[in-house]
Amino acid sequence: MSRFERELSESLKRKEPPAGFANKVIARAHATDKRSGWGWSWQWAAAAALVMVIVGGGVFSIREQRRQAENEQKKEQLMAALRITGSKLRFVEERLAAIRERTINLRMEQE
Protein backbone atom coordinates (compact mmCIF):
# COMPACT_ATOMS: atom_id res chain seq x y z
CA MET A 1 0.00 0.00 0.00
CA SER A 2 1.44 3.35 -1.04
CA ARG A 3 1.62 6.35 1.20
CA PHE A 4 -1.23 8.02 -0.61
CA GLU A 5 -3.39 4.95 -0.10
CA ARG A 6 -2.52 4.92 3.59
CA GLU A 7 -3.60 8.56 3.80
CA LEU A 8 -6.82 7.69 2.04
CA SER A 9 -7.47 4.76 4.40
CA GLU A 10 -6.79 6.99 7.36
CA SER A 11 -9.19 9.67 6.10
CA LEU A 12 -11.92 7.05 5.51
CA LYS A 13 -11.41 5.13 8.75
CA ARG A 14 -14.39 4.05 10.85
CA LYS A 15 -16.43 6.83 12.36
CA GLU A 16 -18.60 6.34 15.40
CA PRO A 17 -22.28 7.24 15.02
CA PRO A 18 -23.73 9.87 17.37
CA ALA A 19 -24.44 8.81 20.95
CA GLY A 20 -27.74 6.99 21.33
CA PHE A 21 -27.87 6.00 17.67
CA ALA A 22 -28.49 2.29 18.36
CA ASN A 23 -31.22 3.04 20.92
CA LYS A 24 -32.89 5.40 18.47
CA VAL A 25 -32.88 2.74 15.72
CA ILE A 26 -34.23 0.05 18.06
CA ALA A 27 -36.98 2.39 19.32
CA ARG A 28 -37.97 3.22 15.72
CA ALA A 29 -38.05 -0.48 14.85
CA HIS A 30 -40.31 -1.24 17.83
CA ALA A 31 -42.52 1.72 16.85
CA THR A 32 -43.03 0.20 13.40
CA ASP A 33 -43.95 -3.06 15.15
CA LYS A 34 -46.65 -1.31 17.17
CA ARG A 35 -47.96 0.48 14.09
CA SER A 36 -48.16 -2.76 12.14
CA GLY A 37 -49.84 -4.49 15.13
CA TRP A 38 -52.42 -1.70 15.30
CA GLY A 39 -52.96 -2.06 11.59
CA TRP A 40 -53.48 -5.77 11.96
CA SER A 41 -56.01 -5.32 14.79
CA TRP A 42 -57.98 -2.88 12.60
CA GLN A 43 -57.89 -5.30 9.72
CA TRP A 44 -59.10 -8.13 11.93
CA ALA A 45 -61.89 -5.95 13.37
CA ALA A 46 -63.00 -4.93 9.88
CA ALA A 47 -62.96 -8.56 8.71
CA ALA A 48 -64.95 -9.66 11.79
CA ALA A 49 -67.51 -6.88 11.22
CA LEU A 50 -67.86 -7.90 7.59
CA VAL A 51 -68.37 -11.56 8.54
CA MET A 52 -70.97 -10.52 11.14
CA VAL A 53 -72.84 -8.40 8.59
CA ILE A 54 -72.83 -11.25 6.05
CA VAL A 55 -73.92 -13.88 8.61
CA GLY A 56 -76.54 -11.53 10.11
CA GLY A 57 -77.89 -10.69 6.69
CA GLY A 58 -78.05 -14.36 5.78
CA VAL A 59 -79.90 -15.32 8.96
CA PHE A 60 -82.36 -12.43 8.49
CA SER A 61 -82.96 -13.43 4.87
CA ILE A 62 -83.62 -17.10 5.79
CA ARG A 63 -86.05 -16.07 8.57
CA GLU A 64 -87.87 -13.75 6.21
CA GLN A 65 -88.19 -16.50 3.59
CA ARG A 66 -89.53 -18.91 6.24
CA ARG A 67 -92.05 -16.35 7.47
CA GLN A 68 -93.28 -15.70 3.93
CA ALA A 69 -93.62 -19.47 3.31
CA GLU A 70 -95.62 -19.87 6.54
CA ASN A 71 -97.90 -16.99 5.56
CA GLU A 72 -98.47 -18.52 2.14
CA GLN A 73 -99.28 -21.86 3.77
CA LYS A 74 -101.76 -20.26 6.20
CA LYS A 75 -103.36 -18.37 3.34
CA GLU A 76 -103.77 -21.62 1.39
CA GLN A 77 -105.31 -23.32 4.46
CA LEU A 78 -107.75 -20.44 4.94
CA MET A 79 -108.76 -20.52 1.29
CA ALA A 80 -109.31 -24.28 1.49
CA ALA A 81 -111.41 -23.85 4.65
CA LEU A 82 -113.48 -21.13 2.96
CA ARG A 83 -113.99 -23.31 -0.12
CA ILE A 84 -115.12 -26.22 2.07
CA THR A 85 -117.44 -23.97 4.09
CA GLY A 86 -118.94 -22.51 0.89
CA SER A 87 -119.65 -25.93 -0.59
CA LYS A 88 -121.23 -27.09 2.68
CA LEU A 89 -123.41 -23.97 2.79
CA ARG A 90 -124.51 -24.54 -0.79
CA PHE A 91 -125.36 -28.17 0.12
CA VAL A 92 -127.38 -27.04 3.15
CA GLU A 93 -129.18 -24.38 1.05
CA GLU A 94 -130.07 -26.96 -1.57
CA ARG A 95 -131.34 -29.35 1.10
CA LEU A 96 -133.38 -26.58 2.71
CA ALA A 97 -134.83 -25.55 -0.66
CA ALA A 98 -135.76 -29.17 -1.35
CA ILE A 99 -137.44 -29.53 2.07
CA ARG A 100 -139.31 -26.25 1.56
CA GLU A 101 -140.52 -27.38 -1.87
CA ARG A 102 -141.61 -30.74 -0.53
CA THR A 103 -143.47 -29.05 2.38
CA ILE A 104 -145.30 -26.75 -0.05
CA ASN A 105 -146.22 -29.68 -2.25
CA LEU A 106 -147.60 -31.63 0.74
CA ARG A 107 -149.71 -28.67 1.87
CA MET A 108 -151.14 -28.28 -1.58
CA GLU A 109 -151.97 -31.99 -1.71
CA GLN A 110 -153.71 -31.75 1.70
CA GLU A 111 -155.71 -28.77 0.61
Partner: protein, 173 residues
Amino acid sequence: MTKADFESVVREHQGMVYSIACNFFHNAALAEETAQDVFLQLYEKRLSVEVGSHCVAWLRRSTVHRCIDTLRRSSFRNEIQVDLLPEVPVDMPETDPFLQERLRRLVASLPETPRAVLVLRFGEDMDAEEIGRTLQMPVRTVWSHLQRATALMREKAARYLKEKEDEPVRTRT
Protein backbone atom coordinates in the same frame (compact mmCIF):
# COMPACT_ATOMS: atom_id res chain seq x y z
CA MET B 1 -33.15 -13.34 12.99
CA THR B 2 -34.99 -12.64 16.22
CA LYS B 3 -35.62 -9.19 17.73
CA ALA B 4 -32.78 -9.79 20.21
CA ASP B 5 -30.46 -10.71 17.31
CA PHE B 6 -31.50 -7.51 15.53
CA GLU B 7 -30.62 -5.40 18.58
CA SER B 8 -27.19 -6.99 18.88
CA VAL B 9 -26.60 -6.55 15.13
CA VAL B 10 -27.45 -2.84 15.43
CA ARG B 11 -25.05 -2.38 18.34
CA GLU B 12 -22.28 -4.39 16.67
CA HIS B 13 -22.45 -2.98 13.14
CA GLN B 14 -23.71 0.58 13.66
CA GLY B 15 -20.17 1.90 13.15
CA MET B 16 -19.74 0.09 9.85
CA VAL B 17 -23.08 1.21 8.38
CA TYR B 18 -22.70 4.78 9.64
CA SER B 19 -19.09 5.01 8.37
CA ILE B 20 -19.97 3.85 4.87
CA ALA B 21 -22.76 6.41 4.66
CA CYS B 22 -20.65 9.15 6.28
CA ASN B 23 -17.71 8.55 3.92
CA PHE B 24 -20.09 8.43 0.98
CA PHE B 25 -21.88 11.71 1.72
CA HIS B 26 -19.39 13.53 3.95
CA ASN B 27 -22.50 14.71 5.77
CA ALA B 28 -23.23 13.47 9.31
CA ALA B 29 -27.00 14.15 9.29
CA LEU B 30 -27.55 12.44 5.95
CA ALA B 31 -25.33 9.54 7.05
CA GLU B 32 -27.32 9.06 10.26
CA GLU B 33 -30.63 9.12 8.40
CA THR B 34 -29.38 6.65 5.81
CA ALA B 35 -27.92 4.32 8.45
CA GLN B 36 -31.23 4.35 10.37
CA ASP B 37 -33.16 3.52 7.21
CA VAL B 38 -30.81 0.61 6.46
CA PHE B 39 -31.34 -0.88 9.92
CA LEU B 40 -35.11 -0.40 9.69
CA GLN B 41 -35.05 -2.19 6.35
CA LEU B 42 -33.09 -4.99 8.02
CA TYR B 43 -35.72 -5.14 10.77
CA GLU B 44 -38.49 -5.53 8.20
CA LYS B 45 -36.56 -8.30 6.42
CA ARG B 46 -35.08 -9.88 9.54
CA LEU B 47 -36.81 -13.21 8.94
CA SER B 48 -34.97 -13.67 5.64
CA VAL B 49 -31.55 -12.43 6.79
CA GLU B 50 -29.28 -14.81 8.70
CA VAL B 51 -27.05 -13.57 11.50
CA GLY B 52 -23.31 -13.61 10.70
CA SER B 53 -21.37 -12.98 7.51
CA HIS B 54 -24.58 -13.01 5.45
CA CYS B 55 -25.94 -10.19 7.59
CA VAL B 56 -22.72 -8.13 7.29
CA ALA B 57 -22.73 -8.53 3.49
CA TRP B 58 -26.43 -7.59 3.42
CA LEU B 59 -25.78 -4.46 5.51
CA ARG B 60 -22.86 -3.33 3.30
CA ARG B 61 -24.81 -3.92 0.09
CA SER B 62 -27.97 -2.22 1.36
CA THR B 63 -26.04 0.76 2.72
CA VAL B 64 -24.20 1.37 -0.55
CA HIS B 65 -27.37 0.97 -2.62
CA ARG B 66 -29.32 3.27 -0.33
CA CYS B 67 -26.55 5.88 -0.49
CA ILE B 68 -26.59 5.73 -4.30
CA ASP B 69 -30.40 5.95 -4.36
CA THR B 70 -30.36 8.94 -2.00
CA LEU B 71 -27.75 10.65 -4.14
CA ARG B 72 -29.78 10.05 -7.30
CA ARG B 73 -32.93 11.43 -5.67
CA SER B 74 -31.21 14.48 -4.23
CA SER B 75 -31.12 17.69 -6.24
CA PHE B 76 -27.43 18.47 -5.73
CA ARG B 77 -24.69 16.53 -7.48
CA ASN B 78 -21.16 17.58 -6.76
CA GLU B 79 -19.43 15.31 -9.22
CA ILE B 80 -16.19 15.43 -11.13
CA GLN B 81 -15.73 13.66 -14.45
CA VAL B 82 -13.05 11.04 -13.79
CA ASP B 83 -12.40 10.33 -17.46
CA LEU B 84 -11.43 13.90 -18.22
CA LEU B 85 -8.64 14.09 -15.70
CA PRO B 86 -5.08 13.08 -16.53
CA GLU B 87 -3.00 11.01 -14.14
CA VAL B 88 -0.27 13.14 -12.59
CA PRO B 89 2.64 11.63 -10.68
CA VAL B 90 2.76 12.92 -7.18
CA ASP B 91 5.39 13.03 -4.51
CA MET B 92 3.49 13.03 -1.29
CA PRO B 93 4.95 15.41 1.27
CA GLU B 94 4.25 15.29 4.98
CA THR B 95 0.52 15.26 5.67
CA ASP B 96 -1.28 17.96 7.55
CA PRO B 97 -4.62 17.82 9.37
CA PHE B 98 -6.34 19.51 6.45
CA LEU B 99 -5.19 16.96 3.89
CA GLN B 100 -7.41 14.19 5.22
CA GLU B 101 -10.39 16.51 5.33
CA ARG B 102 -9.55 17.45 1.75
CA LEU B 103 -9.44 13.77 0.79
CA ARG B 104 -12.82 13.14 2.44
CA ARG B 105 -14.31 16.03 0.50
CA LEU B 106 -12.78 14.70 -2.70
CA VAL B 107 -14.22 11.24 -2.11
CA ALA B 108 -17.65 12.76 -1.50
CA SER B 109 -17.41 14.67 -4.78
CA LEU B 110 -16.75 11.57 -6.93
CA PRO B 111 -19.48 10.03 -9.10
CA GLU B 112 -21.55 7.46 -7.20
CA THR B 113 -19.97 4.19 -8.39
CA PRO B 114 -16.26 5.08 -8.02
CA ARG B 115 -17.19 6.73 -4.74
CA ALA B 116 -18.79 3.53 -3.46
CA VAL B 117 -15.79 1.50 -4.64
CA LEU B 118 -13.32 3.79 -2.86
CA VAL B 119 -15.36 3.86 0.36
CA LEU B 120 -15.54 0.06 0.47
CA ARG B 121 -11.87 -0.38 -0.50
CA PHE B 122 -10.26 2.14 1.82
CA GLY B 123 -12.96 2.62 4.45
CA GLU B 124 -14.00 -1.01 4.89
CA ASP B 125 -10.70 -2.56 3.73
CA MET B 126 -12.51 -4.87 1.30
CA ASP B 127 -10.73 -6.48 -1.64
CA ALA B 128 -11.87 -6.15 -5.24
CA GLU B 129 -13.74 -9.47 -5.23
CA GLU B 130 -15.75 -8.55 -2.14
CA ILE B 131 -16.53 -5.13 -3.62
CA GLY B 132 -17.59 -6.79 -6.87
CA ARG B 133 -19.96 -9.09 -4.98
CA THR B 134 -21.35 -6.21 -2.93
CA LEU B 135 -21.91 -3.89 -5.88
CA GLN B 136 -22.80 -6.72 -8.26
CA MET B 137 -20.15 -5.85 -10.84
CA PRO B 138 -17.19 -7.70 -12.39
CA VAL B 139 -13.85 -7.54 -10.56
CA ARG B 140 -12.26 -5.95 -13.64
CA THR B 141 -14.76 -3.09 -13.44
CA VAL B 142 -13.98 -2.65 -9.76
CA TRP B 143 -10.26 -2.38 -10.55
CA SER B 144 -10.98 0.10 -13.33
CA HIS B 145 -13.03 2.32 -10.99
CA LEU B 146 -10.37 2.03 -8.30
CA GLN B 147 -7.51 3.01 -10.59
CA ARG B 148 -9.31 5.95 -12.15
CA ALA B 149 -10.70 7.25 -8.87
CA THR B 150 -7.32 6.90 -7.14
CA ALA B 151 -5.65 8.75 -10.02
CA LEU B 152 -8.18 11.54 -9.68
CA MET B 153 -7.66 11.72 -5.95
CA ARG B 154 -3.87 11.83 -6.36
CA GLU B 155 -4.13 14.64 -8.88
CA LYS B 156 -6.50 16.68 -6.72
CA ALA B 157 -4.47 16.11 -3.58
CA ALA B 158 -1.30 17.14 -5.40
CA ARG B 159 -2.94 20.31 -6.65
CA TYR B 160 -4.02 21.12 -3.11
CA LEU B 161 -0.53 20.49 -1.70
CA LYS B 162 1.08 22.56 -4.42
CA GLU B 163 -1.26 25.44 -3.58
CA LYS B 164 -0.26 25.08 0.05
CA GLU B 165 3.41 25.17 -0.85
CA ASP B 166 2.86 28.32 -2.88
CA GLU B 167 0.85 30.01 -0.12
CA PRO B 168 3.81 31.49 1.89
CA VAL B 169 5.35 32.82 -1.33
CA ARG B 170 2.09 34.54 -2.24
CA THR B 171 1.72 36.05 1.23
CA ARG B 172 5.24 37.47 1.06
CA THR B 173 4.68 39.15 -2.30
